[in-house]
């Protein structure tokens, strides 16, 4: 028995294992080497001289170690194979709640404006006529005050009451402009998200209550150019795209000048689609420079300060963004809808 012989057994073993693909056969190889080769090595070892014994014994033990370890590995592998399981079976159902899509949108809008130093304010939904109309420069005989569009509260001898005592459901979030300003000193940067009301029949694009986001920035020398910058940033962040703005003349009693703001359609990249009605533009908000009469109503010096205000419908933006085709889904409480957000 020589050292080379043992080395040869080792090489043979490793080669055989290497060549063999089947796990079962590899296990058989291990068994064969343990039962036949190893025992013959060790029995031959007995005949070796004491001097050789130490060296040969060490190598033989090393060989045994290698074979046993390989056998162990094969067993582990076989076991792993038996532990097969289906990763494609469905996971456990873990229920989490959801926030309303309009809550999500409000929060996104709020966080964009917060970055520009705007604060969030709110005011009552049940408002008096003075804040809703008078303070916002609606003439006493303005048709909107008689229009069926406004939801008035039934009050005895309504006609003889002063406008501060006549109640209605606010038709816009603009009354909060005045409520906010009259209690503070300029400059102002504020947004007002909130529920507003129209007395109109409901259909897929009209609701009796819906949400507006109002904004106001007042200071010395606040200009239309500033408006374009602030709103450009807001809409760019909101739609997460490079957007273009378009200001068109319009009319609101509480702003002068007044304009409608269109934003380039980020859905079709202005190529024309159903959302922008093939025009490439989406009408997104009404805006303008705060009318001096409104500043005066709120006890702000209109000679010293100027500012812009704007208002946009949150429902419509959420409908565009989430591809919702019926505004009534927002107020229907249907879990099949709510659970999607």
């Amino acid at each position: 028995m020589k050292l080379v012989d043992i080395e040869k057994v080792k090489d043979n073993f490793l080669q055989e294992i290497e060549k063999e693909k089947s796990l079962e056969k590899k296990k058989k190889i291990c068994k064969k080497y343990i039962e036949e080769e190893l025992s013959s090595v060790f029995s031959l070892l007995k005949n070796a001289s004491a001097k050789e014994k130490a060296e040969l014994g060490r190598v033989a033990n090393e060989l045994r170690g290698i074979i046993l370890k390989t056998q162990e590995e094969m067993k582990e592998k076989a076991k792993e194979k038996d532990d097969w399981f289906d990763v494609t079976l469905p996971g456990n159902k873990i229920e989490v709640g959801t926030l309303h899509p309009l809550t999500d949108l409000r929060r996104r809008c709020e966080s964009i404006f917060l970055k520009m130093g705007f604060v969030v304010a709110d005011g009552p939904e049940l408002e008096n006529e003075w804040y809703n109309f008078d303070a916002l420069n609606f003439r006493p005989d303005h048709p909107v005050r008689e229009m069926q569009d406004t939801l008035f509260v039934k009050q005895k001898e309504r006609g003889s009451l002063e406008s501060k005592n006549k109640f209605l459901m606010r038709t816009h979030t603009s009354p909060v402009q005045v409520r906010y300003m009259e209690k503070r000193k300029p400059p102002f940067r504020v947004i007002v998200p909130g529920r507003v009301f129209r007395n109109e029949a409901t259909d897929s694009s009209h609701e009796i209550n819906f949400y507006q986001l109002e904004g106001l920035m007042v200071g010395e020398g606040v200009s239309i150019a500033n408006f374009k910058s602030v709103i450009g940033y807001f809409l760019g962040e909101l739609f997460n795209a490079e957007v273009k703005l378009r200001l068109r003349p319009s009319y609101f009693p509480f702003t002068e000048p007044s304009f409608e703001v269109d934003v380039s359609c980020s859905i079709c990249k202005m190529k024309g689609c159903s959302v922008c009605q093939q025009t490439g533009w989406i009408e997104i908000m009404g805006a303008g420079m705060v009318h001096p009469n409104v500043l005066e109503s709120a006890k702000v010096d209109s000679e010293k300060y100027s500012g812009f205000a704007f208002g946009c419908g949150l429902d419509r933006i959420a409908m565009i963004e989430n591809k919702i085709n019926d505004i009534r889904l927002f107020y229907g409480g249907d879990l099949r809808f709510l659970k999607q957000f």
């Binding site: 048709p143 400059p187 000048p257």
Partner: protein, 666 residues
Amino acid sequence: MKFSYNFLQSFFKEKLPSPEELGEILMMHFFEVEEVKKIEEDYVLDIDILSNRAGDCFSHTGVAREIAAITGMKFEEPEVKIKEKGEDIAERIEVDVRSACKRYMLRAVDNVTVKSSPIYIQKRLRACGVNPINNIVDAANYVMLETGQPLHVFDADKIEGEKISVRYARKREKIVTLDEKRHELNDNILLIADELSPLGIAGIKGGIVPEIDKETKRVYIESANFDSVTIRRGSNDLKIRTDASLRFEHGLSTEFTKIALDRVVQLITEVAGGDLLKGVIDYYPEKEKEKEINFDIDELRKVLGTEISIKEVEKILRALDFKIQRGGSKFFVTVPFFRVDVSIKEDVFEEIGRIYGYENIKPIVPEKEIVPAEENIDLFIANECKDILKNTGLNEAYSYSFINEEASLYFKKDELIEMEKPVSLEFKYLRPSLLLNLFKFLAENEKNYSHASLFEIGSIFKRKEGVFFEEKVISVVLLGDDFYRAKGVVDVFLKNITGETAIYKKKDGVSLLDYNKTADVVINNVVVGVIGEICPKLKKHMKIKGSVFGVELSFEKIKSFYKETKTYEEILRFPPVLRDLAVLVPEKTEYEEVLKKMTKEGGSLLRRIELFDTYEGKEIPQGTKSFAFRLIFQSKSKTLSSEEVNKTQEKIIETLEATPEWKVRK
């Protein structure tokens, strides 16, 4: 409002831009053009003229002037020359204006020939949605479309007496209008009448009596300026809206009264022949004043945020018919009579801004003043509330702010706020609670789900002693769960928002909830809300099968307990000692009562009490139940000995058993 492209072209020698281009230009500098449509050899532009410009732009002249100002093209109004002949109108008729009329003018033309209008007039009328009738009526309508001033024509021979008056109708007075419809009038409605009967509803619609027909030879032409509110109310009362009433409702300059009258008599004599009588009746008690506005160009530049030149400003204002005097940077402008909407410098700035073009103003980032933004604590807390409720697995819903008549039966009538004229009875009252609409949502959802849990944070509205109140509340509703799941939601919610543990006190008589299964939610002796099962009557009415629970908490009260920072409580190093204890009590004993007694006696060593079982059944006497508690004793400063724990436990048992019918089973 519809405008004829050919009609607009008639004010210009130069060719107008194509109808589509014109639409684009108007949209960017004037108002939105909703549609451009080809009709015969004309185009119709449907322009959304907003109410502030009704006074001058419910007319082709007004829109043509805008086109001239925007494009720089030369614009010419038709030249008006009239020739009078024969007797003076004043010898024939007298006008008595009693109310609601700022100016009233009348002219007469004799010997007209009633026939069809020239084709160009008929086409332009049709393009604007007006039906041609005959040359006299068409001329009046044509001049209205041209100038914006409504006009009316009468057959002079059908008028009784020698006096025309402008007066309010008498109660129950009646009139048959030109469309042969009969109307009963009221004393808000202004009339034009002869000495016998009404001739027409002033500013709204003519009567059939003095109608122009083929035999008509002598006509009176009325041009007047009626009070806008009177016309609007009358038109609403009678539910008649006409081209005339629309224009009067918005108000227009009294200068138009004369301009349009001159123009129409010229057109009538042109298309129907006849002789224009001398003179004119002109009731005009108060002449309109010219408006003057001063501003500095720096103010304008500050508002626009752009360095517009003096030359540019002058060019724009002149094109819009403003008269200008200037001293350096100071402008003194006179507003043209037809611009009833312009009265302050900001109005002038808008004129300059829109013609200059908002697209020519470059965005400028506002200079940021260092003003620390105040935090909106309400919003912050509301957001946190929503997040916690969401994290407990609830779905946020938004419900209507209104309830219907039927639902109102569940509330006290005098606490409800009623709407004046809601579009549907579904919206008759403001919601005095969120629960009702949320229960309705559960009923709907039960078609698809056996379990559902919703929450909403919103305003509710109540009337107390005639005063209106609006209050924010937080509501939760559950379907298919029991009372204790609802309570669990409230507990975890309050723990997170207020850091407090609420106690629940049974109460009765809350709207919408079951008389026997309702409790107040109490923090530190303050009732912050209610929790309970839906009342059986409402549940039946809503056809809900599963169990339904509701919670409504006052936002203000929750806010008052809001804790932003939480205080760390030291983790105890010494081992706890556990003892189990079963208490046998009469079945109608509240858990809270048992708990209180143990807590009080346990002192500071008794760290926690956990209820791990409640038993009612065969093994214990009828009419009793057993609470199984685990008591956890732990000290901050040492390892507790058995003796110490035993002593406290004994004291607890003693106290419990001191209550009649209570027994401790060890």
